[in-house]
C-alpha cells in the first residue's frame, strides 16, 4: 500500500502509510492503542475504505476489487467473529461454506483445524461456553477454513491469559513454519520480537520505524541500565551526577523520584552500567540495586517518537 490516509472526523487514524508485506513472511504492526493499527487492518480487509492512497492485496485493489481480496484473505478481528449461540463445528462449517467450500469439504477442514488447534473435544459445544483462549483459537481456525494466501490478525493475543497466549503463539509459529503470509498487529514488543520477520512501528497513524526486531532494538539503543538508589530523596542529585560524569544530556536519564529509580540507555552494555555505578559511588550516593534489561515498548516509543506511548 502507498500513501494511505484515513480520517474519522478530525482524527487522522492513518496518515500517509506505505507498507509492503512480502509473501511467506510474518509482518508485525507494533503500536499502542489509537496508533491506527486496527484501521490499517480494516482497510486491508475491505471493511474500511481509505480516503486516499493505493492499497493492493495480492495484486487486487481493495476499492475496485473487494470481492477478489475477500476471496484470498482470512481475517481474525479484535472481536471474535463467531456466533455464540452455535456450536464450534457449526461456526466453522458455516463460515467455510459462506467462503465457498462444499459441505463435505467444510466438515473435513473443520475437523482438521479442530485437531490442529486442540479444539476437537469442544466442537460439539456452544461457543458461549468457551474460554477466551478457546474462542480466539476457534476464531483463528475460522479464518483458515479456505487456506487464505494472506492471514490478517488484529491483536490476536490481547486479553488472553499467559497460558492461552502461549498456545496461540505455538499455533502462529506452526503456521509461519508452513509458509503462511501473515500480518499481525500487537501492542507487545515481545510478541513482535519473537515472531515477526519485519516489524513496523506505528505511531499516530504513521510508520515511525521499520525493520527486523534486532534492527529496531539497535535503534532504541539496545539494553537499558536501571539503577535503584538506597534513598529516593537522592534521585535528582544522582541524575545530575550521572549527566555530568557520563556527559549525557539530562533528557537521556529518566528519573522516578518516588521509587528512587534511574533509567538510561546502556549504549556500551555493562561498561555503561559500571561507569554509572562508579560515578554515583564517587559522589557518595548509595545504590541499592542495578542491572541491565531489554527496553520496554514504552522506551522503544520514547526513543523512536520522542513521546511516551
Amino acid at each position: 500500500m502507498a500513501g494511505v490516509v484515513k480520517a474519522f472526523g478530525e482524527v487522522t487514524a492513518v496518515d500517509k502509510v506505505d507498507l509492503t508485506v512480502s509473501p511467506g513472511t510474518l509482518t508485525a504492526l507494533l503500536g499502542p492503542n489509537g496508533a491506527g493499527k486496527t484501521t490499517l487492518v480494516r482497510i486491508i480487509a475491505t471493511l474500511t475504505r481509505p480516503d486516499a492512497g493505493l492499497v493492493r492485496v495480492l495484486g487486487y485493489d481493495v476499492i475496485a476489487q473487494p470481492a477478489q481480496v475477500r476471496a484470498h484473505i482470512g481475517l481474525t478481528g479484535q472481536y471474535a467473529g463467531l456466533d455464540e449461540a452455535l456450536r464450534g463445528r457449526d461456526n466453522l462449517v458455516l463460515i467455510g461454506r459462506l467462503a465457498g467450500l462444499r459441505r463435505r469439504q467444510a466438515y473435513q477442514r473443520a475437523a482438521e483445524l479442530a485437531g490442529t488447534f486442540g479444539l476437537t473435544d469442544a466442537m460439539g459445544r456452544a461457543v458461549r461456553t468457551y474460554s477466551g483462549g478457546m474462542r480466539r483459537r476457534l476464531d483463528l481456525a475460522a479464518s483458515l477454513m479456505t487456506r487464505p494466501a494472506l492471514l490478517v490478525l488484529d491483536e490476536p493475543t490481547t486479553g488472553l491469559d499467559p497460558a492461552s497466549r502461549q498456545q496461540l503463539w505455538a499455533v502462529l509459529a506452526q503456521m509461519r513454519a508452513e509458509g503462511t503470509t501473515m500480518l499481525l498487529t500487537t501492542q507487545y514488543l515481545e510478541e513482535a520480537d519473537r515472531f515477526a520477520d519485519v516489524v513496523h512501528v506505528l505511531h499516530r497513524g504513521q510508520i515511525v520505524a521499520s525493520g527486523t526486531a534486532a534492527q529496531l532494538k539497535a535503534l532504541v539503543g539496545g539494553q537499558m541500565a536501571e539503577i535503584r538508589l538506597d534513598d529516593p530523596a537522592a534521585s535528582s542529585a544522582a541524575s545530575r551526577v550521572l549527566a555530568r560524569r557520563l556527559s549525557l544530556p539530562a533528557g537521556e536519564i529518566r528519573t522516578d523520584t518516588g521509587a528512587g529509580r534511574l533509567t538510561l540507555a546502556a549504549r556500551d552494555g555493562t561498561t555503561t552500567l559500571l561507569a554509572a555505578a562508579a560515578a554515583l559511588a564517587a559522589d557518595g550516593i548509595a545504590v541499592a540495586d542495578l542491572g541491565l534489561r531489554q527496553p520496554s515498548l514504552d522506551e522503544a516509543f520514547l526513543a523512536l517518537t520522542g513521546v511516551t506511548a
Binding site: 480494516r42 480487509a45 475491505t46 471493511l47 474500511t48 475504505r49 470481492a67 477478489q68 475477500r70 476471496a71 484473505i73 481475517l75 478481528g77 479484535q78 472481536y79 471474535a80 467473529g81 463467531l82 456466533d83 449461540a85 452455535l86 456450536r87 457449526d90 458455516l94 463460515i95 461454506r97 459462506l98 467462503a99 465457498g100 456452544a126 476464531d139 475460522a142
Partner: protein, 260 residues
C-alpha cells in the same frame, strides 16, 4: 455471470437462514415468546372485545369475525421489528466483520434472515388460525382460504420486517432502535381497519387508514375468509409489499455492506 451471482445469493441466503434455524434449534427457549405471545394477545383481545356489537359491521356478522384478521396482522406488525433488531445486533458484533470479509453475497445476510423469519411468520399465522378456529372463526374456502391467509400474513410481515431492518441499520443504536421500531408498529396497527371499520374511525384517521398497508392486509384476509371481493385489497397490498421489499430492502443491504 448473472446466473452465477444469483446462484451465489440463493446459496448464501440459504446458509444464513440455516444458521438462524440452527440457533433456534440449539436454543428452543427463543421460540417461546414469538409463539406464545400471539396466542395470549388473541385470547385477550377476543375475550375483551369479541362480544361487542357496537359497530355497523356487527350487523353483517359478529365483531369477532371482524377482529380476528386484525389480530393476525397486528401480530405480524409486532413481530417484524425483531428482524431489524436481530440484524442490528449482528451488525455490531465481530460476526458482521467476519461476514463482510468473506467473499459471500452481501444481500444474503438480509435475505437469509428474512427467509427464516418468513417461517416464524407462517408458524405464528397457523397457530393463530388454529386458535381462532376454536374461538369460532370460520374460513369458508377451508384449505385454500387458510393457505391464502397465511401467505398474506407472511408477505405483509416480511415487507414490514425489511423496513425495520433498514430503519434499525439507519438508527444504529440498539436501545434507541428498540423504542423507535416498536412504537410506530403499534401506531400503524391502530391507524387502520384492524379493530374498527375505516368509516367508524376519527375523521383525521380515515385517509391514513385507507392508505395503510395494514388495512389492505386485514381487508384481504377478511375477503378471503368470507369469499368476498378481494381484487382491490390484493392490488393495494401487492403494491405495498413489492415497494417495501424493494426500496427499504435495497437500502438495508447497501447500509449493511457500506465500508465505514
Amino acid at each position: 455471470m448473472t446466473a452465477a451471482v444469483s446462484c451465489r445469493v440463493a446459496r448464501d441466503s440459504a446458509l444464513i437462514a440455516g444458521r438462524q434455524l440452527l440457533v433456534l434449534r440449539m436454543n428452543p427457549s427463543r421460540l417461546i415468546y414469538p409463539l406464545v405471545q400471539p396466542l395470549v394477545l388473541l385470547v385477550l383481545f377476543v375475550s375483551v372485545l369479541g362480544n361487542l356489537a357496537v359497530t355497523r359491521h356487527a350487523a353483517a356478522g359478529s365483531y369477532r369475525e371482524f377482529l380476528i384478521p386484525g389480530i393476525i396482522i397486528q401480530n405480524a406488525v409486532l413481530t417484524a421489528p425483531t428482524t431489524g433488531l436481530a440484524l442490528l445486533r449482528d451488525a455490531g458484533s465481530g460476526l458482521a466483520d467476519r461476514f463482510r470479509s468473506l467473499p459471500m453475497s452481501r444481500a444474503a445476510v438480509l435475505i437469509g434472515r428474512l427467509a427464516s423469519d418468513a417461517l416464524i411468520f407462517a408458524v405464528q399465522a397457523v397457530l393463530l388460525l388454529a386458535a381462532a378456529d376454536l374461538l369460532g372463526f370460520r374460513v369458508r374456502a377451508r384449505l385454500p382460504g387458510l393457505v391464502g391467509i397465511v401467505a398474506v400474513a407472511v408477505a405483509f410481515g416480511l415487507s414490514v420486517a425489511v423496513t425495520t431492518a433498514w430503519l434499525a441499520l439507519l438508527i444504529k443504536d440498539p436501545e434507541t432502535a428498540e423504542r423507535v421500531l416498536f412504537f410506530p408498529a403499534i401506531a400503524i396497527a391502530f391507524l387502520s381497519s384492524a379493530f374498527a371499520p375505516v368509516g367508524e374511525l376519527a375523521g383525521w384517521m380515515q385517509p391514513i387508514a385507507r392508505a395503510n398497508p395494514v388495512t389492505a392486509a386485514v381487508s384481504l384476509i377478511r375477503s378471503v375468509a368470507s369469499v368476498g371481493p378481494a381484487a382491490f385489497p390484493l392490488m393495494q397490498l401487492g403494491c405495498w409489499v413489492a415497494g417495501l421489499l424493494l426500496v427499504p430492502g435495497v437500502l438495508a443491504v447497501r447500509r449493511w455492506q457500506e465500508p465505514s
